[in-house]
């Protein structure tokens, strides 16, 4: 009997600690490359994210292959030649909202935040800082951000023949809506 009670208590505790975390399974992450020669964009609507409002801990992870391009051949080149997605299938971010106290998770509104952490792309990790917003609307919470990534920093080689067509700096957008797990 005691054992049973212990289990019940334990499971309740776990459920409680669990409840504090917010989860997003269909995060939308997309990027643009603008050059006078060509505009490229790709969308990934299957990014996952975990946000802990109490600490401001924020994590993202996505599969490179889930990025969709309008031109199929570009998608093949992106995976095969640039991101080497068979070798490095994921990109991830692990970081923190540096000012979580600015967000009132209980009150509807749009709050400006800054996120700092490690961004891993192509198996190379670099520290990044990004500005964004957190929108609280009832039970749901949406994080949005726009920041830039330089392919060169992540050892993504761009051959000189296509240098004119791929921007030196890629604009990355994030739109993730969280629900309590």
């Amino acid at each position: 009997m005691k054992v049973k009670i212990l289990f019940v208590v334990l499971s309740v505790i776990f459920q409680l600690t669990q409840a504090q975390k917010l989860v997003c399974k269909t995060g939308h992450i997309w990027f643009y490359s603008h050059t006078p020669m060509e505009n490229i964009e790709a969308h990934n609507k299957q990014a996952v994210s975990i946000l802990d409002p109490s600490t401001g801990d924020m994590q993202f992870s996505l599969l490179i292959k889930a990025f969709e391009f309008k031109i199929a051949l570009m998608q093949v080149h992106f995976n095969e030649n640039y991101m080497e997605s068979d070798k490095f299938p994921k990109a991830s971010f692990k970081g923190k909202i540096t000012n979580p106290d600015k967000v009132n998770f209980k009150k509807d509104g749009v709050y400006e935040v800054e996120v700092f952490g490690d961004l891993t792309i192509h198996n190379i990790t670099k520290p990044v800082t990004a500005k964004g917003t957190i929108e609280v609307k009832g039970a749901s919470l949406t994080a949005r951000s726009k920041f830039v990534v330089t392919p060169h920093d992540y050892d993504i080689a761009i051959p000189s023949i296509v240098e004119e067509k791929i921007a030196k700096v890629i604009e990355v957008n994030v739109d993730a809506t969280y629900t309590a797990n």
């Binding site: 600690t17 669990q18 051949l73 023949i161 797990n181």
Partner: protein
């Protein structure tokens, strides 16, 4: 009853432990299991070397191909080991949808015009929907337009040949892809009464990726000898080896092959060069893809 309750509680506890320990990687794994991931770039282009790969042009993409084979290396210094001769095949190939492509071409060899249709039947995938191989079906017809030097007049249809192929491929890992192509060739007219109109062959080919933009390819079509083999001209099974170099916008292939023709009807049934005798051609293919629809 007691046991049931206990196990139920245990189950809940175990479940909470599990979700509590859930981290971002698990979450990604769970969410990706519910979607299907298709194998991409089983081959770098729509050809392995001479023959077709399972790859297609997708919707709205136009592939302009120039293929070139020099003469036979064993023709010696007088012909600069074959470089004096030029055999060309031009092709325009287009993806009507993501799974159907068509192409037309013209080759120096027998002044041939050709057209083909290729469509995807199955795609190799993992995740929610699992499929171990990709399968495409290929059909082509071609017409020899060399001036008729024989006696009498010929019906145009007499100079037409047809090819049907099943292309079965698997990308085993990031580097290695293998394809097997059962092939059937029909000639409406052959040189002599004893020559077979129908020829069967089993083609195989592979790609081995060496670097991000460089791969080694090889291809061999075993031509099954007809039951009563009285072919008027000795032919050999085509063997080709080559490399694919990708330069961003296009794919450049360089190869050594014992066949001169660059379409199935020609290289499967009419390869007269032999590797053993140095009847080998140096050649290249250039593929440039244009996106007509965005």
């Amino acid at each position: 009853m007691m046991l049931q309750k206990t196990s139920f509680i245990l189950l809940i506890a175990a479940f909470s432990l599990d979700t509590f320990g859930q981290d971002i990687d698990q979450l990604l794994e769970e969410s990706s299991e519910s979607s299907t991931e298709y194998a991409i770039a089983t081959f770098k282009s729509t050809r392995i070397i001479n023959g077709h790969s399972i790859e297609r042009m997708t919707n709205g993409q136009l592939d302009f191909r120039i293929s070139h084979r020099f003469g036979e290396i064993n023709t010696g210094a007088y012909n600069l080991w074959g470089l004096d001769q030029a055999n060309i095949h031009f092709g325009l190939e287009y993806g009507i949808t993501d799974w159907v492509m068509v192409g037309i071409g013209r080759g120096t060899y027998e002044k041939t015009y050709d057209g083909f249709l290729k469509f995807s039947v199955l795609r190799q995938s993992k995740g929610k929907r699992r499929m171990p191989v990709s399968i495409s079906y290929f059909a082509s017809s071609s017409i020899n337009t060399l001036k008729w030097t024989g006696t009498g007049t010929l019906n145009t249809w007499d100079r037409v040949s047809y090819v049907q192929q099943l292309l079965i491929a698997r990308k085993f890992n990031e580097r290695f892809s293998l394809e097997i192509n059962p092939t059937y060739v029909h000639h409406n007219m052959v040189d002599t009464e004893l020559d077979p109109n129908d020829i069967w062959s089993i083609g195989t080919g592979f790609r081995f990726k060496l670097t991000r933009r460089f791969s080694f390819n090889a291809e061999y079509y075993y031509v099954i000898p007809p039951l009563n083999d009285f072919r008027s001209q000795a032919t050999f099974s085509p063997l080709s080896i080559g490399v694919d170099i990708e330069t961003g916008g296009h794919v450049f292939s360089i190869m050594l092959t014992n066949s001169l023709a660059m379409i199935e009807k020609g290289f499967v049934t009419e390869t007269t060069g032999s590797w053993a005798d140095g009847g080998i051609h140096l050649g290249f293919n250039i593929s440039r893809v244009f996106a007509l629809k965005k």
